[in-house]
Amino acid sequence: MDDFYRENILDHYNNPRNHGHLEHPSAAAEGVNPLCGDELAVELEVHDGVVTDIRYSGRGCAISQAAASMLSDVVKGKPVDQLAQIGKEDVLEELGIPLSPIRLKCAMLSVGVLKVALSELTGEPLPPEWNDPSDGIEWKSA
């Protein structure tokens, strides 16, 4: 239990990467988990099919905010067509800790928001696993 807040998580929480806003985002989306009030917004800048810049903003627990920071590092510089591959497992691997079902939602907020932004960008429908009304998370493309 004592390993929960590992150094890498605290580092991303205290020194968030790619935090803030873009001046001219190509796509943007928001997500809210009404159960705990976690909020997360993501903005992407895309040139020639590559994510050249990314910013996220929001408020919430260390897990949701650190996961967003870690994910932003992963996404930046990647071709858009590779991002469809990114999933829950990648976020869990980055975090490197076991999560209870309640905390799993905190961790998955950022990747869910990314999926909504990508869907807006590409016009592809949101994958059904990110569009499950039973998980209670509200997505919104900006």
Partner: protein, 425 residues
């Protein structure tokens, strides 16, 4: 103040004396003897649901092993025995809230169901278009949403008593609402589940009755912790949850007999009838008119056992213990730099402490505390309007009960220091 401070009895900031024999009480609760993550369990979430003493657990088992059958039907021995114990529990609960009449005690699942019973059976009969309902900004969703829904469905208007910055009911707001006409129902918590505010129920009862309204009290956070005398409180309905007072999943609604008599049933079906023809049904007498179907038999009997357990220790003694412990806890938290507390200052406060540690999200606070086997609640505590009133997303809540001692608060303080170290507060 000093981080790394060691919290010892010698450093006690408030006087702490208790009439309770804590060691003896703790021995009654089997779960408290089970380590969590290899550490002593520090259970500070009784406001959500309390732990259960052996006496209650054994009663549940005993009902199923010796006296279980459906109630009010069986001609046979076990049916009579189960009915006797079930109705006996009603008598105990009538005594627990000092009801004038056992017919005024209705067994329900918990306070939420009790409040909905009033909202449906009383509200949809006696509240109509142009009428007003008054609730407060501090209510748990269970004593807010039923009234909102009632107002929407009947065309009544819903008004709120507002709060002062310390989380008490604002007398000015009561003054402002004084002009509202046709107030039919006032709903208020006896004790706030988020802030520990203790409301002056007799004064609110007078205020409601002066307007010709009934007063509905959510007693979920009060009845487990202090003596409740519904006649002295002067209210018209009082709801409580058994699971918060050492009992299982059963609760009661107490209501004035003359009101219950003129209310239609809430749920209909078996048990609540006298005669049924294909065209028409006549209702059973109180309290069974409001107990459709097979009730939670063993749970209701065990709720009686829980009430007897608490009465055996003494509700006054439990109140005095929590009173002292709350003052101690408030002072200890007050002495930790970076901790912000919400709600009234003791002594005018029940054993619910609501706080934040720096900007650390309450989920993270609770997670770090869990690593020290400290159980607290993190979130909005089902009081979203209250959170908005104080511009909060969430708080961490530690709540005490008869089995908590100063050692639990000291452990909490050390746990908070760990939170601060982890997140560099």
């Amino acid at each position: 103040m000093k981080s790394g401070r060691i919290y010892t009895a010698a450093m006690a900031v408030a006087e702490f004396t208790t009439p309770l024999d804590l060691e003896k009480i703790r021995a009654d609760f089997p779960i408290l003897a089970r380590p969590v993550h290899g550490k002593r369990l520090v259970f500070l979430d009784s406001a959500a649901s309390s732990q259960k003493p052996r006496q209650v657990i054994e009663t549940l088992v005993d009902v199923y092993e010796t006296s279980y059958a459906n109630v009010h039907r069986g001609v046979y021995y076990l049916g009579a025995r189960a009915t006797e114990r079930y109705e006996g529990a009603r008598d105990i609960m009538a005594g627990f809230v000092n009801a004038g009449d056992r017919r005024e005690v209705i067994f329900v699942r918990e306070a939420t169901e009790a409040l909905n019973l009033v909202a449906y059976a009383y509200g949809r009969t006696f509240v109509g278009p142009g009428d007003a309902i008054v609730a407060t900004e501090m209510e748990h969703h269970s004593n807010l949403v039923p009234w909102q829904f009632l107002a929407q469905q009947t065309g009544a208007t819903l008004h709120y008593l507002r709060l002062t910055d310390d989380g008490s009911l604002d007398p000015d707001s009561q003054e402002r609402l004084a002009a509202i006409e046709n107030v039919k129902l006032v709903a208020v918590a006896h004790v706030s589940n988020s802030l520990g505010t203790i409301n002056d129920i007799p004064a609110l009862a007078t205020w409601a009755h002066d307007r010709g309204a009934v007063l509905v009290v959510d007693g979920a956070q009060a009845a487990p912790h202090r003596p409740v005398d519904v006649q002295a409180l002067g209210c018209d309905f009082y709801a409580l949850s058994g699971h918060k007072m050492c009992g299982p999943g059963a609760g009661i609604l107490w209501g004035r007999a003359e009101l219950l008599e003129k209310m239609p049933p809430f749920l209909t079906g078996g048990e609540m009838i006298r005669t049924v023809s294909l065209e028409k049904t006549t209702w059973n007498d109180l309290p069974w008119k409001f107990e459709a179907g097979t009730p939670a038999i063993a749970e209701s009997i065990a709720l009686g056992a829980a009430a007897q357990y608490l009465q055996g220790i003494g509700m006054e003694a439990i109140e005095a213990h929590e009173h002292a412990l709350t003052a101690y806890a408030y002072d200890v938290l007050d002495g930790i730099s970076g901790v912000t507390q919400y709600g009234p200052k003791p002594p005018n406060r029940a054993g619910i402490l609501s706080f934040n540690v720096g900007n650390v999200h309450p989920h993270d606070v609770a997670q770090v505390l869990d690593s020290e086997a400290i159980a607290v609640r993190a979130g909005h505590h089902c009081t979203q309007p209250l959170m908005r009133r104080f511009d909060l997303q969430a708080t961490t809540r530690a709540s005490v009960y008869l089995y908590n001692g100063r050692d639990d608060i000291d452990a909490l303080a050390l746990g908070i220091e760990k939170v601060k170290r982890t997140f560099s507060v």
